[in-house]
Every structure is written in structure tokens, then in C-alpha cells.
Symmetry: C2
Subunit: 474 residues, 2 copies
């Protein structure tokens, strides 16, 4: 068993550090590290238990989410909300396993080391942990649990607060965006794991499933398994979609979206101006001046063709973080802390929405705990603390965060379009999860493909096969 | 909180009672009763934790399985295997809930009151409990967990021993039975919950799914939701099946099987002698002289017609218990104990296969524990004890019980046919899970429908539509 201790280290700080800080990392010999970080203060303690996988390839790995949690714990805001309270952060690797995750939660519970759980993140871990935590009366705050099942909190997930919206909210947002243009007739074309792969359905399946539900039905839906098929016949698939739809919602990895759009360009679907494609990017904050069509390994000619193809694409993402100095400082400090304390480099990727959500989770919990204490309650009353987090709007690191009366964040989504000159994507409208309405961005407009000045209809005037108009020869 | 205590009660006993026995029932105010039964002896303790639902409508409710567990604990056999060891049995109501079940297991674990788990029974409870118990090194013995997923024990269910076979074994047995008659081309017609009912798939779906797998494929499969549809169009369904198959495997509740066979009789499928029906009854021990066609509420005429219809039916069940005096005494004592100590009346139903399996579970565990102790091991070494239960054949209450090297019982199944004179079903052959072979019963033969002396082919000589033979007019 290796134990590494630091005392009084100079942690890069976002808020003020009030006291010398002690950071202690203990690697257990079972390979799942338990670690502890304490904001040393006299007085009572708040024990935060973080449950997430350690696999750095995941957007919500411990290495990525511990820095914002640390920063929130050290922030001026939390110091004011919870004066004279020692805060201890412990974390465990769930391995995204339905055995390891719940057993880690059990350990925290029996050792009385969890006043609140941050995470877990993987659905098969959240489900049991949030069920048990409900019985234990311990709040669970996670930007995961976006599936529909987690919306039902009376029976099963009574202390679960969802910090990053849900797939069904994406569906609602999409239907509002489509309604802007009078589109009801759309096709869904997305990545899903093949039947028999043992992997269940993909996130794309769940996400677009809510679009299907929100629209009541949809004329065409097709899926492909991007992990199994090397060369998928996108030409053939697009031709069959073209026989039934003009508006196509895609969900796949960025390289596959590029392949699909290149195939569409090849089929003259882009230059005709008759087609509009959407794609969905929920788990990344897009870099400023994002150019998804550009592939460093492709030829200039191929990139030029891809750029033309992307003229027909609109992208739906989580609302991008603000450009503020405060947010820039946050982004920078997260990366420094990750590198210095968790040996992880973000590279030049912007921090993702899970990172900001975990910062906000600490602020929200501290706000609610402060209220519970002010009302004579105790830190052990997780049900009361949970109820104070619901139906609340507060200032998070990316702006206002609104939690609805069911304990789910009214997440905002944005619609991005490409400037055909620069090739960079920029926001043209937002969807507000709170007001359920579209807010258009002033002084920008969507560039429609094929030289159109306005959007195409979802059904061609003469029908998909032209049979709706009299033949010219008549 | 009500507490009822008995001391030195005269429990009806199957084996010898060695010492005065203490039975204590404590009803917790959360409605989930925790109870304790002890075979009081000086010396070290064996703590048995029973996890099952309390709902008496279920075949494996606590009221039905605690009597055989009690009797096994008190038996001469266990006394000899574990001399000088106090045995405490505690039980908890899992409510078949994926929250209550695991939390009950967790309570046993943290209180150090489980050397072994008997149960749980419901799949959604077994899955987490068996995962956690594997990590805790606590053996789990259950006649549940018949689904395919529980076969894989290396990763997830390392201490799970399955006492009542599995659906895949039923599939194997069925394919051997069908092969006896050269039948490969069959139809499956069964109860399944409707999509959107939120109930997932039925046991019939899982059971017949293994037949599908064992046969590689099947020409026709149709399902109906017997819980939702009051009047199902069995005539229509049978007509469409008749266009594609002659051998039909049914799985449904006994009244629905009767409805289907009456419809078949009406369509002359029985009198033609061309059709053979099977049904599957895995969870009940059929009464001696079982007459499933008889409905006390039906007219004599209807019952006569049903009896004729059942001439076309063969039934696959778990192998019935023996007629021995020992087994009769067991059956009687289970019922007396259930009535006297657990306030539950079996009525005149035979005890079901889960009841006998729990008796056997205690014998098997005690045998393995005895071996572990004799080899210098300890009761806390659940992995060693588990390995000694696997690849073992022992004398259970219904005869030899064989556990394979994967820790799954080589369950036996039986084929029953109706004597057309008496109307009673009787065993005509057994399938041995251990030898994977059919054992025909001497001096009995199957009565084929429609006056045939031998079985019909699975495909009519002239094809299903008669087109395979030259027309008579030619």
C-alpha cells in the first residue's frame, strides 16, 4: 500500500483558500483508489463522496471532475455558505460496474463518510446507488441519469437531483426548433449497437428516441453500428431516406457525421438546397470557431468538399459556456489542477459540460445545506436538503442554473450554424429549458444550403417522388 | 413493534430434534419481518440468511420455503454433518424489489449475520445480491436465477449455486424429446407481456426462447398477453399456425392452455391426428392423477370435449417427486409446519419444486461446509465452500441431486401423456439433465390423437397447403 501525503500544498485556486490545505492521496492495494481532500477548518464536517470511473477516456472520469469539485469546495461562495465547516472529499472508482459502484457506495455508507454523493455517472451504477441512497436519505447529485427512467422519483430515486438535463428535454427542444421552420416530417439516422452485440442501445438511440416521442412519430428511422461496420453504405441509406424525407437528424461520432455529409454532398443533396441535416453533440463543449468538417489527415480538396457539405448542417449542443473572464479563469484552473494534482492533461480541448456541472453541484448542495441548517435542520437530513435543491435557480459557473420542481435541471441547448466563409460554427439560437422557448441570437441568421434565402419545406411541393405535380408533358 | 416469542415449542419435525428449540419472530415496524430460528446447540454458529418475498401468492414465498429450511436444519443428516454447531436462520422479505432485496442482503452483511444466503428468488434481486455476495465471499444458493445471464459466473456471480436447473436446460431437454419423434419443425405459441406494459418479458418467453435457441430456429412463433386480453382469438391464431406447423409448443396459464386446446378441438386439429401440442409446467409439482382438462365450473359436455382435446397434448414438467413414504412424510410435515408456524395453508396442492429445492440447498451447503471444516478451512471461506458444492451429486429429498461443474443443477424433466380412458396424466419418459438423455418409462406408451398408432410427421407429406402432392384431378 502506497501512501503519498502533501501538507500545505499550494493548490491553484479559483476561490480564496482560507486555511492551509491538506491533500492526501491513499492508493489502496485493490487498485481502486480511495482518496481524501480536506478543506481544513475547525468545526463540524461535511463529507462529500464522489463516485465516478477512473478511466480517463470518459468525459466524466475522476481526473476531470475532481478538479472542479475541489475548486468549488475552496470557493469564496462555499466558504460563505458553510462557514466554520470542515469539508472532506473522498472518491472511489466505480469502474462503471454495477458491482463496484454500489459496493463503493455501501462502503461510504457504513463508514459514515457520505453526507452527499456526487455521481455516479454510468446508468447501471446510478440506478442501484440512487435507489439505496433514497432509502438512506443521502442526496445524490449527478449530471448523468439522463434516461427517462430516472425522471420518476417518488418510488425509486427520491434523493436524486439531475444536474444536466435529460434526453427527454433534448426531444422537447428539438421539436421546438423544428417547429420554427414548420418541420414535422423528419428522418432519424443514427448510430446504435447491433442486436446481439450485448451492448444494449446507444446514447444516440435514447437521445433521438425522445425526438421520436416529442414529434409523436417520424416517417423514417435508420440506424447503423459504427463500432462494427468499417465501411457503411451511407450512399444507399441516404437514397432510401431521400425517398421519404428532406429533414434528417443525425447522431453519430464526428468522423461518421463527416462521412455521411460527404455522401450527401456526393448525391447532390447539399447543392440542391432541398435537404437540411441536424446533428446532436451533448457531451462536449465545442471549441470557439469549431470546424468539424476539417480533418487534418484529409486532402485540401476533401476538406473543401466537406466544408461545402457542412453548409447543410445545423448542430444542436448543450448551451456553450460564456466568454466571460471568470469562466476563462475557471477553465484554465481546472486544467492546471488536473495536470498538477491528478496527472491528467485536457490538452487544448475545452472542459466539458460534466466538469462545469460538478462545480455547480457543490454550489447547489452547499446552498441547500446552508438553508437546512439555518432552519434548524441537520446535515443528516438529506430529504430536507434535497427538497431545497429542487425548484431553485442559482448562479452557476456558466450562468443561471435552474432546477425544476422534479429535481431536474432545465438545461439549455443551442443551435449552431456554419458561416460559409470562415467555415466556423456559431450559435444562431438558444432553447431555454426553463421557459421552453427559443431565443434567437441578434444579428445572426442561418445560412441555407444551395443558395437558398430561406429554409426548404419538409415535404417537396410535388411530393417525394414528384407525383404530386402535373407532368410537364401534359 | 410487535414481538412474539416462543421457547421450547414442539416443532413438528422431520429429522430428530436434538435440543429444545427456540423460535422467535420479530415483526419490525417497517413491515418487513426479520425473524430468527435457532437450533440451539453449544459451540460455533452457522448463520443462514433467507431472502425471499413474503407475498403468499408466489410459489417461493417465505411462508412456503421456511418450513423445508427449518426441517433440513433440524434433520439427522445436518446434525451429523455439523455436530456441535448452533444454527441460526434469519429471514427478510425482499418484496421482489431491487431496492429492498439488496438492502436486506446488505444488512445481513454488515451485521455479520450471513454465512450463506438462501434465495433470493426474483431475478432483479438475485442479480445485485449475487454480484455483491461474490465480492463478499458469501455463498448464494437459490432455485431461482434460471435465466441465461446467471450461467456466467466467473465475473459476476462467483458464489452462486443454482438449485433448480435453468431455462437453457429446458431447451436442451425439449430438443431431445422432439428428436425422439424426428420433429424439428415446430411452432411456439405462448403468453408474453405486451410491449409497453412495462413488465418486460414473461417466463414463458424466456423458457420457449431456449427451445428456439436449441432448435436453431423455428418456423412460427406467436405470443399473446393473457393478462390484458380477455377474449383472445385463439381460433384465428391456430389457423395461421396450421398453415406452417403441425407440432405446437404452448406456454400459458392452465386455463389459457385449456382454451387453446378447446379451440384446436373445434378446428378438428385434434381429431385429425395431424397435430401434437406440448405445454410446459416448470413451477408446480402436478398432483397424482392430474386432470388439467377438468374445470369444476364447466358443464359436463364442455369437460368431455376438453378431455378429448387433451388427447393431443403432451406436458413437460420438472421431474415429479417420488412416491416414497419418506417423501410423503416430508410433504405432510412441510404443510403442518407452514400452517402451525407460518400461518399458511398449502391446501391440497402438492408442495412445489422450490420447496424441495430449499431443503436440498441446506443439505448441500452443510455437506460442503463439513468438507471445508474437515480440510482445516473456516465457515468464512465461502469460495472454498462454494467450490465444494459444485461438481457434486448428493441424496436430496426427491432423490439424487446432481450439481454440474458450473454450479448449476442438472435438473431432470418429465414428459407426461394423458390416459384417454381415465383422463389422468402420467409420466411416459424422463429427460436426465446429467446424462442429457431420454429415459423411457417401461410398460407405458404415448396415446396419439385421432386414433393413430404412431406419431404424425412435423411436416405433412403433401406440404402444409397440400401443394406437394399431385392433384387427384390430374
Amino acid at each position: 500500500m502506497r501512501v503519498t501525503s502533501f501538507s500545505g500544498v499550494d493548490i491553484p485556486h479559483f476561490g480564496s483558500i482560507i486555511e492551509p490545505v491538506e491533500l492526501e492521496l491513499a492508493f489502496q492495494n485493490d487498485q481502486s483508489f480511495i482518496s481524501r481532500f480536506e478543506r481544513s477548518l475547525k468545526g463540524k464536517e461535511l463529507q462529500i463522496a464522489v463516485l465516478a470511473p477512473q478511466d480517463p477516456s470518459l468525459q466524466y472520469s475522476l481526473q476531470k471532475i475532481l478538479p472542479p469539485i475541489t475548486m468549488a469546495v475552496l470557493s469564496e461562495q462555499v466558504r460563505q455558505l458553510l462557514p466554520n465547516r470542515k469539508i472532506t472529499v473522498r472518491y472511489r472508482d466505480t469502474k462503471c460496474s454495477s458491482t463496484d459502484g454500489p459496493l463503493a457506495a455501501f462502503d461510504f455508507y457504513i463508514n459514515h463518510t457520505a453526507d452527499v454523493f456526487l455521481g455516479p455517472m454510468c446508468d447501471y451504477v446510478i440506478a442501484p446507488v440512487a435507489r439505496y441512497a433514497g432509502r438512506w436519505g443521502i442526496p445524490v447529485l449527478t449530471p448523468g441519469a439522463q434516461a427517462e427512467a430516472f425522471r420518476h422519483k417518488n418510488q425509486q430515486y427520491s434523493t436524486l437531483t439531475r444536474l444536466a438535463g435529460s434526453y427527454s428535454l433534448v426531444g422537447e427542444g428539438f421539436s421546438k426548433i423544428l417547429a420554427l421552420f414548420g418541420w414535422r416530417h423528419v428522418a432519424l439516422f443514427y448510430h446504435n449497437y447491433a442486436v446481439g452485440s450485448g451492448k444494449g442501445h446507444s446514447l444516440c438511440h435514447f437521445t433521438l428516441g425522445t425526438v421520436f416521442t416529442a414529434l409523436n412519430s417520424t416517417p423514417v428511422y435508420k440506424s447503423f453500428d459504427e463500432t462494427q461496420e468499417d465501411r457503411i453504405d451511407f450512399h444507399g441509406a441516404l437514397k432510401s431516406i431521400a425517398a421519404k424525407a428532406r429533414i434528417v437528424i443525425l447522431c453519430a461520432s464526428p468522423p461518421k457525421v463527416r462521412d455521411i455529409l460527404l455522401a450527401a454532398e456526393d448525391l447532390k443533396m447539399v447543392s440542391s438546397g432541398e435537404y437540411v441535416f441536424f446533428n446532436v453533440e451533448l457531451f462536449t463543449n465545442l471549441r470557439k470557431g469549431y470546424m468539424p468538417w476539417h480533418d487534418a489527415n484529409a486532402t485540401d480538396e476533401n476538406n473543401e468538399r466537406a466544408k461545402r457539405a457542412y453548409e447543410a448542417l445545423l448542430t444542436v449542443t448543450v448551451r456553450p459556456p460564456p466568454d466571460s473572464t471568470e469562466y476563462m479563469a475557471f477553465d484554465k484552473q481546472v486544467k492546471e489542477l488536473a495536470l498538477n494534482k491528478f496527472n491528467f492533461s485536457f490538452g487544448d480541448e475545452p472542459v466539458n459540460p460534466f466538469v462545469t456541472a460538478f462545480y455547480d453541484a457543490v454550489i447547489l448542495y452547499a446552498t441547500a445545506l446552508n438553508e437546512t441548517l439555518a432552519n434548524g435542520g441537520s446535515i443528516t437530513n438529506g430529504t430536507d436538503i434535497t427538497s431545497r435543491m429542487w425548484n431553485k435557480t442559482f448562479q452557476g459557473i456558466t450562468g443561471n442554473v435552474s432546477i425544476d420542481s422534479n429535481g431536474d435541471r432545465n438545461a439549455d441547448y443551442s443551435l449552431l450554424d456554419m458561416d460559409p466563409k470562415s467555415g466556423a460554427f456559431h450559435v444562431v439560437a438558444h432553447y431555454s429549458g426553463k421557459t421552453k422557448s427559443i431565443i434567437e441570437v441578434a444579428n445572426v441568421s442561418i445560412h441555407w444550403p444551395g443558395g437558398r434565402t430561406t429554409w426548404p419545406p419538409d415535404t417537396p411541393k410535388c411530393g417525394f417522388d414528384g407525383s404530386g405535380c402535373p407532368s410537364k408533358s401534359m
